[in-house]
């Protein structure tokens, strides 16, 4: 067996193993085997809200996701991305507040607790609120 053939076999083995691993993890994580092909667009959730906002500015941000959880982080970054360049701040004095909720039914309770009124609420759990 020549050295070149041996090297080719090793490289091929490493390449095939790596590529198969990458592809299998990708297909498994994304559940491609279920043959359901969901397309996820971050903007969909925030589309109606975006239409009601001015082109820029700073807004308070309110969510019912557990604080410091990955879910809370994901929601906040999705909102920042969809609503850019608007700035979402943790400012209790902000006049306008964007609500980004996992459980939309909790909106009245959250508003009452924080002295906010609903300007507009949208499907999926987003709303524009104003300080009373």
């Amino acid at each position: 067996v020549s050295r070149d053939l041996l090297a080719s076999c090793f490289v091929l083995a490493a390449a095939i193993a790596g590529l198969l691993r990458g592809v299998s993890v990708h297909l498994y994580k994304e559940r491609v085997y279920t043959l359901e092909i969901p397309t996820r667009r971050i903007d969909t959730r925030y589309q109606a809200l975006l239409a009601r906002l001015p082109p820029g500015g700073r807004f308070g941000y309110l969510t019912d996701a557990p604080p410091e959880s990955e879910q809370a982080g994901r929601l906040r970054f999705d909102a920042l991305y969809a609503l850019a360049p608007r700035l979402l701040v943790s400012d209790p004095a902000a006049r306008f507040v964007i609500a980004d909720l996992l459980h939309p039914e909790a909106l009245p309770r959250l508003c009452a607790a924080r002295g906010l009124v609903v300007v507009a609420a949208f499907e999926g759990g987003t709303a524009l609120l104003e300080r009373r």
């Binding site: 390449a15 790596g18 691993r21 990458g22 970054f77 920042l80 360049p85 700035l87």
Partner: protein, 461 residues
Amino acid sequence: VSALRCGLFLLAVCAAGLGAVRCGLRAPAASKAERVFRAALALLLGLGLVSAASSATLLLATSRGPASDLLLLLLAAPLLFWKRPPAPPPPLSGSRVSPPLLLACGLGLAVFALIFLEHSVRYPDGGWDASAIWNLRARALARAGSDLAQVFPPDEQVPHPDYPLLLPGLIAHAWSALGAEAIWVPPLVAALFCAALLALLPAALAASSGPRAGAFGLLLLLGTPALLTRAISQYADVPLAAYLLAAAALAARGLSATDTERPRLLLLAGLAASLGAWTKNEGLVSLLLLAAVLAWPALRAPERRRWRDAGTFLLGAVPVLLLLAWFKLRWAPTNDLVANTTTAGLAARLLDPSRLAVIGWAFLQRLWRFGDWGLALPLVVLSWPVRWWQRRHEPTHPAQPAQTLLLRLSVLLPLAYAAIYLATPSELHTHLESSLDRLLLHWWPIALLSSLQPRRGVPPG
């Protein structure tokens, strides 16, 4: 108007890339591998220069629009008609790629492309970092008009608000040229950078070490699962890896080139490295290290030529570094690692041996875990002692300075990363887990380029 602007944008990318390559590599390409190398390089430099020029006009003059494209086109177009020396003779035929290897390369590329396409259609916004850092900034740049205070607010609570703008600037500029925020632009930009990386490594290897080495490089890169994940997620790690590889390959070529070609190649290497620094902060570390490695022989024996090499390399980086400096000083908040560092804290961390052990163990683990459990790195590492033994018994060869440069760079880059981990004020385990794989992905193409160099430095094809 939109079609005209799009045309101008594409022309600027092509002219800037081809013009820069024509400046550095004046003689016509003598082989297919060399043509692929130059095409990939032109794509990388063209995209980077258009992005840097548009960011420069935005940050310095708060001006948007086609002015930067027009300026680049006017500057680069004459270079395309620059008289070239006669083509060198075609290289002697050397190693050949066997049909199974060729088939594996083709199949691997096809699978990679299919997964990329499938993922981009389903998740066009990209992975976590893409939507939280790169595409978020691109949207802010595109939507805020000339109001830069809104793009870079001082109290912005996003990860790494001080990251430079090559990727977001390019995407925002492409949207501006299109006249719409087309969702396919970020995946397309990610695909172009990934394609450039996948072409650059095998072409650089094939041009210096023969087609078989090129095929090996491509297969080992395709067999790195992390590359697929980062590429389809639209992360900036792939463009950065491509720029660093381009810089290393050009610098290595420069050291083996004639006295006339040498400074041109080193200037181009400096430009490529500076575009890496304009992509991510880590690129700046690699740029400084490459300059130090170029100057290294001058430290051991007074050698003015090597100081000159390092100086020429840095000169090529100056324009983009000036832009980076302006961005960092005027617009970006202080880097979180720098902001949280105190002298006393830094001294305590540097003198803490337990941190060294943690860092050493994390690097050691990557020998089998790197790239999401691929087998490519263990295979390459296993080849190192054999190569080292062979090199000890090889005669000195004109190509040796280039090989030594690549070897030094691939050894010192992980050490530089280790030094940063030693000094980091962030929680060490979290910092290592969240970033070491990415840093090693930037290093990986250079390591492959170095590891697959020919035994006796004879360019066989």
